[in-house]
């Protein structure tokens, strides 16, 4: 299985099983339509667990079912078997997909009981994972200059995004922010897909301050066709405000506590121009025009 064949290509006219919003997303990608991978509950085997720093881990999970087109920004909802205290699954962005090995990568920052337990998964463990869930980032129709802005563990959906944007031959700048240099992970891998810029709050790596203090958010911002961002909400709001001021398209990936992950519990709603919408199914990626973030 190679990368080009692992996406099942089909013509718009011959595949009608997709809901319209999903069709619209795929229609933008390389002008080809990719078959949406059905969501399913799978037992995935942990084939590697790479500790990136004191609290970040990168899990590789192998599927027995053939992986099909997974979009950047889509997520996986993982059961925390090893903790009695954690009742609900925990949602994580799909960090990367390796279609050759039929595996997905999940970046985990151990924060609470559930994330800590999962970050300590052992090679050979089996995790119950529901994926792929949600609506991902969309792709520019023509060759574009794009800026990816990630903050903290919010970099998680940006690796797959950068990978696919690169395949689509877009010009990519990547700005990653963290509290301190040690928290910046996977910089070498990001660098494969675009020019890397960093900011840290303590100035230990790159520009001192928040991502929006970086020079990219000065005059140059107008030169971008689109900004993609994921990170803490105050950061995304600041990015969105500047994008809006400079009339640059901007897509954000929201985080939210959710019970199900597939649109039936209605717990993870966010305010949109169309009223309450589920982050899990209408998002997690939203165009900032859909969100009431302009003020």
């Amino acid at each position: 299985m190679n990368k080009s064949s692992s996406f099942t290509k089909t013509k718009l006219s011959t595949y009608t099983g997709l809901p319209n919003p999903i069709l619209a997303i795929f229609a933008h990608y390389s002008n080809a339509i990719y078959l949406r991978m059905k969501k399913s509950v799978q037992n995935l085997k942990v084939v590697s667990n790479q500790r990136l720093n004191k609290d970040h881990a990168l899990l590789e999970l192998k599927s027995e079912v053939l992986l099909e087109g997974i979009l950047p920004g889509q997520f996986a909802n993982i059961l925390v078997d090893k903790s009695q205290k954690v009742f609900l699954r925990r949602p994580f962005s799909i960090f990367q997909v390796d279609y050759k090995c039929n595996s997905i990568f999940i970046l985990i920052k151990g924060i609470g009981e559930g994330t800590k337990a999962l970050s300590k998964s052992l090679v050979g463990d089996t995790l119950s994972v529901i994926f792929p869930l949600g609506r991902g980032y969309t792709f520019p129709a023509k060759r574009s200059k794009v800026l990816l802005v990630g903050g903290g563990v919010g970099i998680a959906p940006l690796m797959l995004l950068a990978t696919m944007l690169k395949q689509d031959n877009h010009q990519i700048e990547i700005l990653l922010g963290a509290r301190t240099g040690e928290d910046l992970v996977e910089l070498e891998n990001f660098a494969k897909y675009g020019t890397i810029h960093t900011t840290t709050e303590d100035g230990s790596h790159g520009t001192e301050g928040f991502v929006t203090n970086h020079a990219l958010f000065g005059e140059e911002l107008k030169s971008f066709d689109r900004i993609y961002t994921c990170g803490p909400e105050p950061m995304m709001k600041a990015v969105a405000r500047l994008a809006h001021l400079n009339s640059v398209d901007c897509e954000v990936s929201l985080e939210n506590t959710m019970a199900c992950g597939y649109g039936v519990c209605l717990c993870c709603v966010t305010e949109t121009t169309g009223g309450h919408r589920c982050v899990c199914t209408d998002g997690p990626v939203f165009d900032i025009k859909q969100l009431k973030w302009q003020n």
Partner: protein
């Protein structure tokens, strides 16, 4: 392979496993996961006469062995349901019930009248037990006169199976069950969520935007079992058991307590395949204990 089919006062279920309102969307969300026709039935989300935006975020809190929700009946209204969702449900060959709620008796009636026009909807589950709305909802399910009034009124305009979903937030649930039975309910389902709350100690704030919400999940199963047992001994109409059913053993316990069918709720959030595992597990239990039919274990608690 034991006989799993059961008749719940006119609802002919191919097996006694349904999925609970508010945990199963409109059913279509589960198409990727399994064939919905395998279910005895499913209850679509709470529907009201007028569209409702529901409560503000946060609407959910994870608690020990369960969760609180305060969704507040977010839905597009019965007209939206009839025009946009109902046509998509025609493909399913299972019992589809609509959970109907309202702020006034008049709203319940108007909503039920519109559902009555939808041939493919097998019945109504009358929700007189939602703890998350300011007006109506649970208020109808916590006093006998109010429950009687709304059930009688809906009974007049709705001519198919009428299941009434009871609130556990009462002193004596059998009184309410007897009242709705006398008012024309064909069956009762219980329990809805238990009114509860969660507090964030560090911020000294409630976790939910509404302060209180409804507790569901395994934490409420013992309460639900007790109530199903009490109610099934008191009423003659079938009882549908709901409350923290995560696996087939939980389901069997409800049958033994007197439930003729069960609804899987919060388990759908943890495992969308839960209902499928439960159906298989019930069958296995009956075979193992050499029962020929599910009917043989209903109310079969050995005292």
């Amino acid at each position: 392979m034991a006989e799993l089919s059961i008749d719940i006062a006119g609802l002919k279920l191919k097996n006694p496993v349904m999925t609970a309102s508010g945990t199963f969307g409109f059913g279509v969300e589960f198409d990727d996961f399994f064939d919905l026709n395998s279910l005895g039935g499913f209850v679509v989300k709470g529907t009201t006469l007028h569209p409702r935006q529901g409560n503000s975020y946060p609407r959910m809190a994870e608690t020990p062995s369960g969760m609180l929700n305060a969704v507040g009946l977010q839905n597009g209204g019965v007209k939206y349901f009839a025009e946009n969702i109902y046509p998509r449900l025609l493909v399913y060959d299972t019992n589809i019930l609509v959970n109907v709620s309202g702020s006034t008796v008049e709203e319940y009636i108007a909503c039920a009248e519109q559902i009555n026009e939808l041939d493919h909807i097998a019945g109504i589950e009358l929700n007189i037990s939602c703890p998350n709305v300011k007006e109506g909802g649970m208020a109808f399910g916590t006093s006998c006169p109010a429950a009687e009034a709304v059930v009688k009124a809906v009974r007049k305009v709705y001519h198919k199976p009428l299941m009434v979903k009871l609130s556990p937030n009462v002193t004596n649930i059998t009184d309410i069950a007897l009242a709705v039975e006398a008012s024309g309910a064909d069956s009762v389902s219980l329990i809805n969520t238990i009114l509860a709350m969660a507090i964030h100690a560090e911020s000294r704030k409630p976790v939910l935007s509404t302060v209180t919400g409804g507790l569901s999940g395994p934490a409420i199963k013992p309460v639900a079992l007790r109530m199903v047992w009490q109610v099934s001994k008191s009423v003659k109409i079938p009882v549908v058991g709901i409350g923290g059913i995560m696996n087939s053993t939980d389901a069997i316990e409800f049958f033994l307590a007197g439930a003729s069918a069960i609804q899987v709720g919060t388990a759908n959030f943890i495992d969308p395949m839960a209902s499928q595992h439960i159906i298989a597990g019930i069958d296995n239990y009956l075979d193992r204990h050499k029962f020929k039919s599910i009917k043989e274990i209903i109310g079969g608690l050995q005292l």
